[in-house]
Every structure is written in structure tokens, then in C-alpha cells.
Amino acid sequence: MNFQFIGDPLRSVYHNKDLVLKLGIRDLAQRFRSSKLGMLWTLIQPVAVVAMFYFVFSVVFENRWRHPDEPRGEFILALFAGFLVYNLFAEIVGRSPTLITGNPNYVKKLVFPLDVLPFVPAVGAVISAGISTLILLVLFVVVRHEMPYGTALLLPILLFPVFLLAIGISWFLSALCTYFKDVPHAVPLILQALVFVSPVLYSMDRVPEGMVRDIMSINPLRVPIELVRGALLDGAMPEWTSFNTNLLAAVVVFFLGYALFDRTRSGFADVL
């Protein structure tokens, strides 16, 4: 057993950082290049999604986040914080099915460091997360009439495990999608289901105690969502034990994903 796969992904990304940044920015620009509103869409999209869910759950079903008499804006803030984490994950993982299959030129005709491909959509995802955070902080001021908590500065640290997890899963899925043509159909479905089984639209307290809550707690997005919400909306310091466990799990997924990708990449050119 060699443990090369621990150093390899880090070295590869560091070595190709220029390329990743350029391709990432190009990727982001390409999405909005021919559109009239351009980069404004990175702002419109998260707002529209939150507005939709707010309409269904808060306006139609008359839900409140915690107390029946809290201002309506509280629900929006909580939704926004949840989507901040979820979107970072989904924007990276959602692109994984086409990373290899959508770039046959990179595989067959260029000498290209394929293992950095998951980081390319990640550039855009991180920028969107930054924009979403700014919107959220503005909304916070509007709803609460007070300045954001200092714990909001912890956000990059709290999101780091989500980033690692997403990259690891992206390696795993992009390799799998190249060999198994059914997987690309399943990925969007799973991502959609993830909105509902993660505490994005509700807080974990609302889930009945017992087996259901226990199983849902395993979801690796649960901890980051709760910690981000706590830090942004309650000014709460993260519980470092759960953060560390989550980080460890993300690191394991990151390296396992790379190991599988690295093991199977030599066959990409044969099956494309």
C-alpha cells in the first residue's frame, strides 16, 4: 500500500493553481457571457430560490423558524444561511458528471492535469458563496436593525470542510460517471433530495426525536449548516468537537475520492 495519494492531490493543485484560477474564471464568465444581466445572475439565483421556498413554507404554510411571533424576515435569514452551505456543495458536486465526459479534448488531445478539474467549478462556487454571504449580511441588517455578529468572520473556516467534501465527492462521481452512464442521471436527483433531508428548510429541532433524527444527523452537511447558522444569526461560537469530527470525515472523503479517481483515470481515454 502506498500513501502517495495523500500528497499527490495537494501537489497537483498547488502546481496548477494558475490554470485552475484561469479556467475557473473562464468557466464562470462563460455561464453569463452572452446574457444581458451577466454576473447579476449570481445574485439573482440564490435570492430567487430563497424567495420560492419562503413563499411555500412561510407564506402558504405559515411556518415560523422558531417562535410564532418572530418577524417574518427571520425565516428568510435562516433559509439563506442553509442555502449558503448547500449551494457551495451542490455547485461543485452538480458539475461532476460532465467534468470528464464533457471535456473529451482534455482527456484525449491535451496533456492535461485532469485531477484539478473539480476545482474549476469550485472557483465559481466560492465566488457565489461570497456574494451570497454579502447578501445575507445586508438582509441581516435590514431584518434585525443591528450590525452582524463578529462570529460571521469564522465563515471561511466553517465552510472549509464542505469544500473538501464536495471536491472529494466530485472526484468520485466524475470518475464513476465516465464508466457508468446511469450515474449522471442520478446525481441531480440526489442533490435535489439533499435540500430536503438536510436542515436547510427547517432546523433539526423540528425533526421528531428518535431514529429519523439520528439517521439524518449523519448527513455531513448537517453540522456545517447548523454551525454557519449559529455563527451568522446567533453569534454563537462553533462547537469545535462536532466541527472537528465533520472536518475529519471530509478529509477522509477527499482523499478516498482522489484515490478512486487516480486509480481509474488511465482508462478515461479508452471509454470516451
Binding site: L260, R263, A269
Partner: protein, 443 residues
Amino acid sequence: MTDPSIVLTGVGKSYSTTGSSSDRFWSLLTNKPRSGDAFWALRDITLTIPRGASLGLVGRNGAGKSTLLQIIAGTVKPTVGTAVVNGRIAPLLELGAGFNPDFTGWENINVAGALVGISSREMKRRALAIADFADIGDFIDRPIKTYSSGMFARLAFAVAVHVDPDILLVDEILSVGDMGFQQRCLSRLREMRERNVTLLFVSHGPDAVKSVCDQAVFLHQGKLLFAGTADETVDRYLAFIREEANKEQLEIEKTWAKPQAVRSSIPAALRYGTGHAQFKRVDILDEGGAPCRAFSFGASVVIELEIEGFMTINDLSVSFLVRDGTGVDLFGTTTFDEKIALPGVSPGVTMTVRFAFKNVLRPGNYGISVAVNRVSRRDYTDNILLDQLDGALAFMVTEDANRPVHYKVYQPIDITFDSSGSAQRQDIKLDRQSTPEHEASGT
């Protein structure tokens, strides 16, 4: 000369024709070889390419040329054998493969630089040289999708040769772009060779291989059939293609006897054909009919060919072709194209054909290839190659201080001029030898 640039040892590549892509996945994951029928795209290739060499790859579609390039580039792993590559490879197996159509020329140049690991600052400096070389004007500011295929190729080639590779792999480039640009590409390739860049060049155009490469390999059905100088290899390849065409035509015309063995031994670089009619004697003569090997400008060159029949064949076409020292085909003709009806041959009957032309070549060494074909259809669809001798004859053209020829071939030219000082216009015909009628004639 230091260590070789590329060393291939027993390289083979097989693709499974029955296994699914999921089988491939499990075999990679568990590290067990696949079952299923294997198709060998490449077999047992052993090749050492020295630094600074320029190697052409010729062969028909599916011969394994692209697979070989992919293995050298590292995008495909060989199933057996090893491929050792020393030096930085220009990562473009196909020019412009990394380009994104929605982005401008500048933006794509920038990304291409990052692909080979050239820093942004360095790339900014080179971008100007690239744009200059591509010479596509304002289009450099527009998205690549608005480019014509020629402009695309220009930019792609410009990028590939400006990223300082040690090894440049080029898969069919010179088919696009206008003549001026092709010339610039060729001279750039030569310049890179002088800087000891190793060049691997795949082309279907034999002339391009001859003019760019000094060595070449001929691949057929994944195997290395021949390796040698570019001229030799390309001629073998062309011979092979003609033999194949012969086989097909002989299949259709079953009345023809089995191919005949070569009866006369004429020294030639390469001889092939069915042998139903053969050259018995090939000679190069002066005006007086005496054997001659050196000609000055304007002298008559006579090629005399004696052909012997081994069965009755009408519709004969006899041809010759003059090649320069680098193997480039210059001129020649066939009796069929000149619409000359030859008497035909039969067993025991020989025929002599003479081609004569005025020497208009620049001083140097030249070779002559001759061929005899059976053909009656204008589109050559029923062509059977009976006998071909590549490099059958050689001659040289001597310097003539009174009449220098600066370019490959002199062509009679009318020159006129006007002068504003004189009222009358003068038409002056150059004092030159009159070109004679074609002297090729039967019997």
C-alpha cells in the same frame, strides 16, 4: 546529442471490443486484467527518437498513428511495453484542442499558456508574438467561434509553436491555411528543429512529411512496417497503397494471369507492380542519343524506356516523374494524360517510349521515377500498376554562369515594360530557346 528524446520499447495498446466501460472500471479498480476480445491498435513498437529529430508518421486511417502520438503524449497508457519521454511536450495533439469558442483569441492564448505552465506575466509577453505570427488582425479581439477554420488553425499553430516545447507533436496541420501561412509554419518548424526540438508529425500528405521530416515510420494495422529516411519511407508507403489498389482491380478483372516475377534487374530504390509488363531497360540520353548524366540549362534530356510484355495488354500508359534532391515531385507526365495511343505489348513484343524535355531546372541532383500502367478510364478507376521504378535514374544539372536559375524550375516568361520617357511602348520577347513539341511518340 544527449539522451534520446523518446524511447518506446515493445509498446502495444489493446482495446477491448466486447467488454463494457463498467468492466474497464472494475478491472482498473481491482487491478485485474480484462477479459474479452482485444483489438490491438498498436503492436510491438520499438523505436528510439533522438533529440532534435523530426519523425513523420505515415499510414492509412486506423494504422495506429494517432494512438502512437497519444501514447507518447501520455494521454493513453500502453497496455504492454514502456514509453519513456524526456522533455516538455507541447500538449496539443490536435491544434486548438484547448480552445473555448466563446472566448476571444487573447483569452484563449492566455489559458493555453496556463495549460503548459507558463506564468501569466511571461504569457503576456508572448501573447504579442503569437498574435503577430497568427496574423488574423482584429479577429484576435473577437470570440473564436466567429473565426474561419483557417484563422482558427493559424491561431492554434501560433500558440503551439510559441510555448517552447522540447517535443512538438503535430497531427495534420498543414491542410488548412493559405500558402503564405503554410510557408511560415514550415519555416517555423525548421527553425524549431535547429533549436533541437523533437518533432513528431502525422500527415496524410506525403510531400509535407518529406519536406518537414528527415526520418519517418510507416505503420500498418498497428505494426511498424518500415522505418527509415522520410523519402524512403514515404515512397514505400505510396508503393504499398498502389499495390493495394492493384489487388482490388485484379479482383475485378479475373481474366488477368497471376502477377509476374521481375525479369530484368534494373537498379532502383524501390520496384513494385504486377509485372505483367515490365521495364526492360531505362536510360537517360542527350540530344544525340548518347548516355548522359549531366545537363546544362536548356539542354535536351531524353528518357528512353523499353517495355516488355508478358501478356497481351492494350491501353498502356507510360509515365515519368522528376524529383528533386529532397524528394519533392517536380514534374512529369503520362502518355495517357497526353492522349497518346501506344501500340501495346504482348509476349515477346517490346516497345520503346521516349520522353524528351528541355532542362529548365536549377543546378542540383535529380531523380527520375518511371511507371507503366494499364488504364482506359479517364478517372483512373480501372488503373492497374504493372511496373514502377522509384529512383530508376539520376542526373545532375550543372551551373551555367550565363544563365543562372535561382528557383526550382524556370518557366518561360514574357517581359514587357513601359517608360514614361518614351512615347512608344515596347514589347520585348526574351531571347530564349523555343520550347519544342512533345517528342513522346509510339514505336
